[in-house]
Every structure is written in structure tokens, then in C-alpha cells.
Symmetry: C2
């Protein structure tokens, strides 16, 4: 199978070239044939090139239809492109086998692709990685200078297995109260703030009976709650088979919190919806992140505190 | 006319009693007969009492139907009450003449009231202040300890005129390019993040041909842009006669911005919608804030750089 991998920049500026160089080396060592898109290092304000440049980059990657389209990083910028993206071109790349991988702002591209049904024809079977994967990005997960491997080895191993079609399940430790849970539904989600920012627009996928996973960074628990409450009030949470929370990190507590925290937020949300809300998914703005196929039917099973997502 | 005014707490915790005491004194000096709701100083986590307590407070105020229902402060908490609020009771208070005043998190109550048509029958005419007013709050605008008046005098004068029914127009200085603008539409809006968090739910008012005003605090320009872009992609901006931006304050710039700022955000949004986007409205998390009647037909006129909103 093809190991062609293109590193491209759909969103925020890549301020230094070194992480991209390191990622290229590391991805080569992992068995891929990486190349860097010509505008990956372009700079325009806080973006990796102006809107036309980044749109052209995405379309160029789609036309090349590599095995893997790996974003350099997130930031902010994909929301600006959703109204003009050529979803047919994206769908064609998926039909030809491209896996679009990333997280954070890349959630906008991935969920909008599901909304626009740019997912290509379903081709179940071994070895198929085509589609959209919530997973690592080049700079932070393969190009870091604080580890010889440029990133976490669990993250990298999971990514390699996902891209070679070997990965058929992931496991994690959730909290108590879900022993015996066994549901089947489409796997979808990503960054909470980016997911929230699609709500009410034509770019929000209408997925019922799904397994929705969410993560976020730099958001105080009350903002995490407000966004999840909005999804609840919009009817999204009740319509899912399960909600799975990843990592919510790097927020600053307030002296006004007085015992209000992420735990009380989760307890509150559990009081609002009958949909089980699991925690502990290794995904988010943290070194260890799984690769998860978006839009695909998955089976979520919990035994004791051990949760498994199989597809 | 009645000058009865009740200070109540629908959202965040009031951590000290002194600002409420000062506000009571100041509002008395301004000619009101203020009282403090019994649970205004209740504390539960980061909230002014648990959900049941705050819900009861709002309903108690609605039943008392004072001339003015003035929130102590915002914070976060009203979103949690929207699904259980008794909108008929709110509507009855408006029919009896109550003006519900506040900003920030109170935007959730006010816009949801418009969505649920809890606005009472329209009674145009002199002296009528009943309804929902984007305007000051007790602690920050009447209870501050850094001025003898407890807050800004323009803010207080405008509030008094609004509540006595004398205020029929406000003026402000906008930027160039809108000379000759003359539109009529329903006035609505408030805090951007709170407005965004209603989108896609039954609590978001469906207002077409309106004049939408927005403000926010502690939000980086890229987040302001993302929220406004969501309103655009949801079709909201194009449906308005005008967008009027208030104050966007207290955010931290990033070294990655490289020239990206609030001005470039506004220029970008203007390139997306034909709806005029004015700036300069004295409203937001700033000392000087106007009182603006929500849901009411208003005429927005610009002469040179002088903008007037008349109702």
C-alpha cells in the first residue's frame, strides 16, 4: 500500500520550520514517505497563509490524494474556509484512499466533511484507513524537540497502526458506573469549542445514535459546561448513544469557583441527559492521543472500568 | 409611576455584600425604591445559590412585578435555568410594567424571553419602560467603591431616563463609511459568547430585519471572529438591517497575531456580509454603557460619523 504522506497547513501559522523538518524525519523512520506542501510554512497574520493560500493547499492535497493528509497544527483558520471548500474534491480524495488526520481546529474540516457527506463510499474491510481521523498532527506529535522520537510513542504507534489499517479498536480506563455498557453508533467529535462553533450552520453534521467524543484546552469548566449545555439544549446529547470526554486541560481556576470544577460539571450534565457520559478518553491537547475514525460505525463496550471502542 | 426596584441574583455569586448596599443607597438617591431579594447574597459554588434558588428568585421577582428588576451581576448561570423558567410568569411581569435590566450573562434571560415571546403585549407610548433592557447592573454600575456615585454618571443618567420612560434615543460616534444609513428594525443582542451559546437551541430568538448589537470581554479577536462567523454561517448576519458592535475588551494579544486584531476581524466580516457593521456603541464590560430596549422597533440613522438609535 502507498505510504505517501503530505504535511500541509490548513489553519494557524507555523512559526518555525524545525518542527516540520523533525516530523518529516520521524515519519520517514516510521515507514511513511512524507513531503511538505509548498505553502505549509507561509505566513499571513496569525494564519499559515491567507484564506486563498490555505484553501489552495487543501485542494492541492486533495488532488494529490496521498495515503495520509497530516496537518502541521491547528490554531484557528478552518472556519473561514468551510463556505468555499470543494467538498467533492475532498470526497474524491477519500475515495482514492486519503486519511485526513488532525485535531483541535482540524475538527472544523472533519465534522464539516461529515456534514457535507464528503466521506466517499463506505468500503468496510481490512486495511482501509481512508476518511477522517481525529488524531495527531505533525508539529506537536512528531516534531517536538524534547523527545528523541519527536512525540509520544503511544500516540505514534496508534497512528501508524491506524494508517496501515491494523487498528481496529482502542481501549481506555473510564470512571465507575458504566460496567456492561454496550452500544453501537457512528463515532464523531473532536474539539468542543470548534464543534460548538459549527452548531446552527450547515457545517454541523446531523448524527443520531452516535458516539460523540470531545476535548478542549484553555477553557474554564464553566465554559466547557456552557458549550455542552448548548449541545444538550440543541438536542444533540440526548440523540447520542454515548458521550465520551477526552482531556480538558490548561485552564485557570478562579477564586470564585468555590468547589465548582470539571467533576461538578460532569455530574450536572449527567443529571440532564440519560445518555451515558464517559470520561478518560486519551485524546485532546495532551501528548498521549489515540487515532479515532470519524463517521465510522463503532462498538463501545465497558467491562468494569475498561472501555473499548471497536470498529 | 412606581419606582419599585428589586435587586436579585440570577447568575454568578455575589462575593461581598458591600457593593449591593452601596447600590441600594445610590439607587435610592436616584429616586428609586430599591429592595434586595432574599437570596441575592446566597452562595453555592460559583453561583448565587443553586439552580432551584436562583430560579425561585427570578420567579419571585416576576410575581412581585416591580418597575425594575435589576440583576446584581452576570458571571455564568442563566443558561442552566432556560429550560425550566416559567416564561408566562415573566410575560405577566412585563404586562404589569416590569423592566428586566442587565447585560453579560443576563443576555441569556433576555434573548430567551424574546424567543419565548415572554415580552407581554406591545404597548407603545410615552412612559413605557416595560420589557427587557440591555443596561447596567447593581454591583458594577451603582455599587462601585471607586467613585462617590458608585458608577459612571452617563450610565446612571441613561438608566434613569430609560426607566422613567423619558429615553427615546441614544447617540454614539461610529467609524466612517455609514453616512446616510437609515434603517428600521427590532433592536436585539447583548453579550456575544452568550448569544452564541443560544444558537441552535429553542432559546435563540428568530429575529429578521433587526438591529443586532454585540459586546464581549476576555475574548481574543480570533474567538470574537469565530463566534461572529458562526452567526454569519447560520444566516443571522445577512438577515439583519445592521450589526452594531459595542466594546470588546480585556483580551490578551498573542505573539502569533502578527497584525491580526479586532480591526482586521471587522474588515473580514464586512467582506462576508452586505449588512452594515457599525462600531463604537457605548455598551459592554466598560463603565459607560447605554440602556437599550430589546425587541423594540428602532430607527438607526447615521449622519457623518454620528449614529442615532431612536425608538
Amino acid at each position: 500500500m502507498s505510504r505517501q504522506l503530505i504535511i500541509y497547513s490548513p489553519a494557524g501559522i507555523v512559526s518555525a520550520a524545525a518542527p516540520v523538518r523533525r516530523a518529516t524525519k520521524r515519519l520517514t523512520a516510521l515507514g511513511f514517505e512524507p513531503s511538505v506542501d509548498e505553502s505549509a510554512l507561509t505566513k499571513h497574520q496569525r494564519f499559515a497563509g491567507d484564506d486563498a493560500t490555505r484553501l489552495a493547499a487543501i485542494h492541492r492535497v486533495a488532488q494529490a490524494a496521498p495515503a495520509v493528509a497530516l496537518a502541521t497544527r491547528g490554531g484557528y483558520g478552518l472556519s473561514r474556509l468551510l463556505d468555499t471548500l470543494d467538498w467533492k474534491l475532498i470526497a474524491q480524495s477519500v475515495e482514492q484512499g486519503t486519511a485526513w488526520v488532525g485535531y483541535s481546529d482540524v475538527t472544523a474540516l472533519q465534522l464539516a466533511a461529515l456534514a457535507h457527506k464528503a466521506t466517499g463510499p463506505a468500503k468496510p474491510g481490512e486495511g482501509v484507513s481512508a476518511g477522517f481521523w481525529a488524531g495527531p498532527m505533525a508539529c506537536d506529535d512528531f516534531g517536538r524537540d524534547d523527545s528523541p522520537e519527536g512525540g509520544d510513542d503511544v500516540t505514534q504507534d496508534c497512528f501508524v497502526e491506524a494508517m496501515t489499517g491494523e487498528l481496529e479498536a482502542v481501549g481506555f480506563r473510564t470512571d465507575v458506573g458504566f460496567d456492561g455498557l454496550d452500544v453501537v453508533g457512528r463515532l464523531w467529535g473532536g474539539n468542543l469549542a470548534v464543534t460548538q462553533a459549527l452548531l446552527g450552520t450547515e457545517h454541523f453534521p446531523n448524527i443520531k445514535n452516535g458516539v460523540l467524543f470531545l476535548e478542549d484546552v484553555n477553557e474554564h469548566p464553566y465554559r466547557i459546561e456552557r458549550a455542552l449545555l448548548q449541545l444538550h439544549q440543541a438536542g444533540i446529547l440526548d440523540k447520542q448513544k454515548a458521550i465520551v470526554l477526552g482531556a480538558f486541560t490548561e485552564y485557570r481556576k478562579s477564586p470564585l469557583d468555590r468547589g465548582y470544577n470539571l467533576k461538578t460539571v460532569i455530574a450536572y450534565l449527567r443529571s440532564l441527559t440519560k445518555t451515558p457520559i464517559l470520561t478518560g478518553l486519551p485524546f485532546g491537547h495532551v501528548p498521549v492521543k489515540l487515532s479515532l475514525p470519524l463517521g465510522r460505525q463503532a462498538n463501545l463496550v465497558v467491562q468494569g472500568r475498561d472501555a473499548f471502542v471497536m470498529w
